[in-house]
Structure formats: C-alpha cells, structure tokens
Symmetry: C2
Subunit: 381 residues, 2 copies
Amino acid sequence: MVHLFTSGFSEAGTEEGKQLENELCSLARQSGMRILGPNSAGIYCPKAGLTTRTDFAKESGSVALIAQSGGNYTYTVREGARRGVMFSKAVSYGNAADINETELLEYLAADPDTRVILAYIEGVKNGKLFVQVLREAAKIKPVVVLKGGITESGARAAASHTGVLAGSERVWDNLLRQAGAIRVFSLEELIDMAVTFSYMPLPRGRKTSILGVGGGATVLATDDCTGAGLIVPRLSERIRERIGRLLKEESGTILGNPMDLSLEAWDAGFYQVLSILAEYDAVDLTMVHIPLGLAPYQSSVQHKLWDFLLEEVVKAHRELAKPVILVLHLPSFGEDYEWILNAQRICYEAGIAVYHSIGNAARAVDRFLSYHERKLAGIRG
Amino acid sequence: MVHLFTSGFSEAGTEEGKQLENELCSLARQSGMRILGPNSAGIYCPKAGLTTRTDFAKESGSVALIAQSGGNYTYTVREGARRGVMFSKAVSYGNAADINETELLEYLAADPDTRVILAYIEGVKNGKLFVQVLREAAKIKPVVVLKGGITESGARAAASHTGVLAGSERVWDNLLRQAGAIRVFSLEELIDMAVTFSYMPLPRGRKTSILGVGGGATVLATDDCTGAGLIVPRLSERIRERIGRLLKEESGTILGNPMDLSLEAWDAGFYQVLSILAEYDAVDLTMVHIPLGLAPYQSSVQHKLWDFLLEEVVKAHRELAKPVILVLHLPSFGEDYEWILNAQRICYEAGIAVYHSIGNAARAVDRFLSYHERKLAGIRG
C-alpha cells in the first residue's frame, strides 16, 4: 500500500489534478498496489506500533475512526485520548481515490479489535454500495457518523477539500437513519458517543436524576436534559424524606429532582444520596454536574469540596447498580483548569463517562438508548 | 432597601414559607421600605463601589444584568469580565417578593449608564405588565433574555428554586418575540450577546467570509455558519486570483470562501488577505477561527504562528472598514490554555469580539443583525 500525504489532486478542482489522480489509480491497479489518499494524514494503529504522530497515545482500545479530513482525524484521536477514548485503528482517507470509506467500513465491521466505529465523511462516490455496507456494519456494531458539508456552502467547501460531491442534508439524514447509523453534528458529539459506548453501562431507560451545584444551573440543566429527550421524574415523598434526613440544613437546596446540591449542607456522604437514588425504581441513571467558578470560596477550598464529591461519585460508580455520569464544564479561566484535567483522568481511569456540557451529555445518553432500543426492536421484529 | 440573602421563603413550597414572605412584604410596605429577595445574591454596581464579591471586576461598563438566580448572576458577571464584558449594574433578585424583574427592567431601560440589558428569568407574577415594560425597554436598547424552566420538569425546578410559575415554552416564545426581546438558550449565549453588542461594529449584512486552519474544520465551520443563518458567498475569480498571488505554495489550502489557512503558505502578511476581503463588496464580515491542537508542531512553534495571526487580526480590526471576529475554541487540554487566555485578553483590549465556538459566534451575529433589522423596520414602518 502507498500512503499519499500530498494534496494537489482532484480536490484542487483542476483538470490537471483530476487527471493526475486517475493516472495514479490506473498505475496502481496495473501493479496490484493499493493507494491511501491522496490528501490523507495516514493510519494510526497503536497495537501494531503504527502512527503518524508522536503525540498519539501508545495504548490500544476498541474504538475505530475513519475520517476524510486529516485535521479532524488528528483532533479526534488526540482529544479522544484525553477523554479516555482509546483506538483500535484510525484512518485519514482523504480524496479516497482508491481505498475509500466503504471498504474501510466493511473492514472495521469485521475487525475483532473494534467495538465502535466513528466516521467523519464529506461525500461518497458510490452511494448505493455505501448504504448497503453501512447497514450491514450498523447491524454488527454501533457506527457513529458526522457528515461534513450538509449545507450548500459547506458542500462547496467539501468539494475543495476532498473533491467529493457532498449530497443534500435531506438525502443524508434519510440515508443515515435508514441504515441504522447514529448521526451526530460536531466532533465533540462524535467523541461523546465514543466515551458513552466505551464507559457507560446501559441504563434501563431515560429516567434521569440530576444533581448539581446552583439553583439556576439546576433549572437550566433540567431544560437541557428534557429538551434532549431524557425524562426528569419527580421523586416520591418517601424518597425525598429519606434524602432529607441526610441534610444538615434545609434552606438553599432544592430537594427533589433536579436536586440542587449545596455541598456544605450534607452531613452524611453524598454517596448515600446516590445510593438511595440507585435503589429507587423511578430513576434509571444519575447525572452529576459541577458548574465551575460559582462557589463563594477560594479555589483551594472549593477544590477540596469537589475532590470529596468526585470520590463519592467514583465510589457510587463502583458499588451501585445504576449508571452515574459526570458533567465537568470547561472553564474559560485558569484557576479550575488543572482540577478539571485531573478529575477527567480520575474518572476515565475509574470508567466513568465525563462530558463537557449538560446538553451534550443528555444527547449522548439519548442516542445511546435509541441505538439499543432499535437493536432490541430488530431482534424482536 | 433591605437585601435578603437568606432562602427558606416561598421557594420552599411550604405554607409557612409563603406566609413569612407575605408578612415581610406587608411589614415593608407599612414602613415604606423596599425588599430585594429573599433568596437574592445581591447587587453589583462597580461605579458606586458596590459589590457582593471581592472577585468581581472594579471596572464599570455599559451592560446591565438582572438574574433570578444568584449562581447565574455570579457566573455571568465573572465569566463576562473574562470575556471583556463590563457591567453598569447587576442584580440578583431571587424570589422577587417586592422588587421584581419588571421594575428592574423599567429602571434599567431609563438608566443612562446601561446600553444593553441581559436577563435570566424563571417566571413573572404579572405577565401583562411585564410584557408592556419589556416592549418599551426593547424599543430603547437591546434586551437579551434567557428563560429558565421552559420544559415541564424545568418549570418544576424553577418553582422549587424561586417559587415562580414558569409558564410554557410556547407562551414565552411568543411573548419574547412580540416584545422585541432577543432570546438566547444558555448562559454562554447570553454572554455572547453582551460581547457582540459591546464590541462588534454593525456589519452591512450576513455575508461572511470564513478563514481558519484545517480543511475538515473549515467544512464544519461553513455548515455551522450557514445553519445559524449567515451567508457564506463564493469569491469572484478576480478576488481568488488576488489572494492567490499572496500564497507561497498552493496545495493543501482551500482558496475560496471558506478559506483553509495554512499559516506557512503565506508569503505576505495574513493582514493583506483580510484587506482584500474588506474591499470586496460581496463580503460583509470576516470570521477567523483557530481550531487548537491540530498543527503538527510543538506548542511553542505553533503559538508563535498564532501570535502572528493574532497581530494581523488586531491590525485588520484597527485599520479595515469591515468587522473581523475571532473564534478561539476552549481546549480540553493544558498546553494551549494560557495562550488562549492571553489571546482573549489581547482581543478584548483591542475591541475584537471573541467567541468559543463557531456555532455560537454565528448565532450571535445572526441575532445582532436581526435586532438591527427589526429596529430599522420599526423606524421605516
């Protein structure tokens, strides 16, 4: 196989570029040689010790990525690693002059090292075959697709980028839905799905209890979760009473679902609240969110409270039967930054799914559940 | 005026809480005393040296904030300052037992120190009067509203938080639109609008040229801008040629709109590209985006390239007739973090609007233009 990093072929939009690419392909066909690219940033396969960048993780995992863009390939592998997503294989396939998304998809569907496939696609040349292969792949393992170039101007950009015909939003939306792929709309959402499939135990349903710091943040968190398709059920009087008994002081907290945590208000460990919720039938999973930069403390004091919260979340994840996920907002200021990076690492080492916004967390859980519901419907049907 | 920080009144949902709040109000009325709160985090007025937190900025500005949530008030003031938004007044009004959102809005509409009003509202008691006052305020200056509790569960949370009846999504959507308010859906978008009104010169229209690093990032940026209501026009052959002449090497860049910058590819300054675009009739504004963690360099080398880019953007903002805005993604890893913080400060000191995602930047520009179009229609009509 020859890997062509260089650009200046069909994506340049010139006759010369197209002709060069065609010549390249026919030369390769004659000699039985395969071509990756041109305009490709290469292959990453940590198990085989193969990488295009020294800063990619050496650790192997079970997530595969195919990306038509080299930049998005690099970003997803690096950013994924920081969020605990480890890769089996990742391929930047560029102009797809010879090896293309369809062939790669077919290969990864059968690859025993790959449990989840992520794809960033700008366009395909043989739509019918692509749909067939995608449908088969999606039957075997989750395939998460980010389609670039869904607007007219975006499609024009895609044509200049990788020389493809991008197709319309409506066509792609139908195509991906019918093939059973999971559609996302940003690189962050693509990585969110990898985090979810890598770490999240399957909840029994959408009924979510929300626990966080700050009354207004709690109200907005509830809107975001409900808006993304989760259910935020009321807690029964009995459960509210049981939790209430753990409180040192009652005012300034919202005791219910959502719950506004005032960390100082808890006499007993926060773990106990999570364990009461885990026993409770009307709750399928718990989302804990920490909005940063809010508490009226010096960072060091605040960070100690959060350290405690984090320990309790890790304990709950290890010992309780229901999923707990964590939302850590990325702060736009320095004081909480190191804490966040460290907390994120602690979480993925403990196997807890971490997201950077409540909306993104809720959408990921919703897509995760929808995927499993479809699978179940397929088995039953 | 008495400011009541304490909670445990109507928001507690108990008869006792409601009664206490009523007693408080009638006592106040008898003595001619006004009450802010209860459940309020206070007032911030840097001009008068009045603050509830030592970490709020001492500098005055022209943005006012009313927030029903103390946490959201604190977050918006602190985060706003980091993004260059300085406040005339900010008020956390809590349960609004006496002083309420309507009265505050009326006051701020007439306040000569306030040019823009931001509002986080969970619910109002006298809807009719509120709409009247909001409509009058919105005629005088931009009023940006984030409504918390728009879903059924969110409304339940709002009732526990500040004791309000939150009202339905449909009612609020109509109400805000008809009153001429600018509606946003997150605290980040609320601050984005303050940044936009504080810094952005009014573009002549929606025609945006997009310049950034990375082909895939460029494709997604175009989808995000078009999806948010901006127009990404083609560049004429003449303009493409003029810009092309500034290029050292041609391949690996997308020369058009969107444009994929490869910083090493430019022989002349990046400023010259921006100045060609500023002269060009078919472009109303330029968005420059830097997706972090992409370039195949050590951070220090990468940061020098970005420093250069930043200098050129600052120069373009100072010298050219059309708006330039900048998108700096918040990285989820440390190496680029200090650079971002510093770049953000340089930008707001130079008066350049900075956003943290392309979607958010595009939505802010779209809302900014829609606001001015409505004003113009109002004057004409």
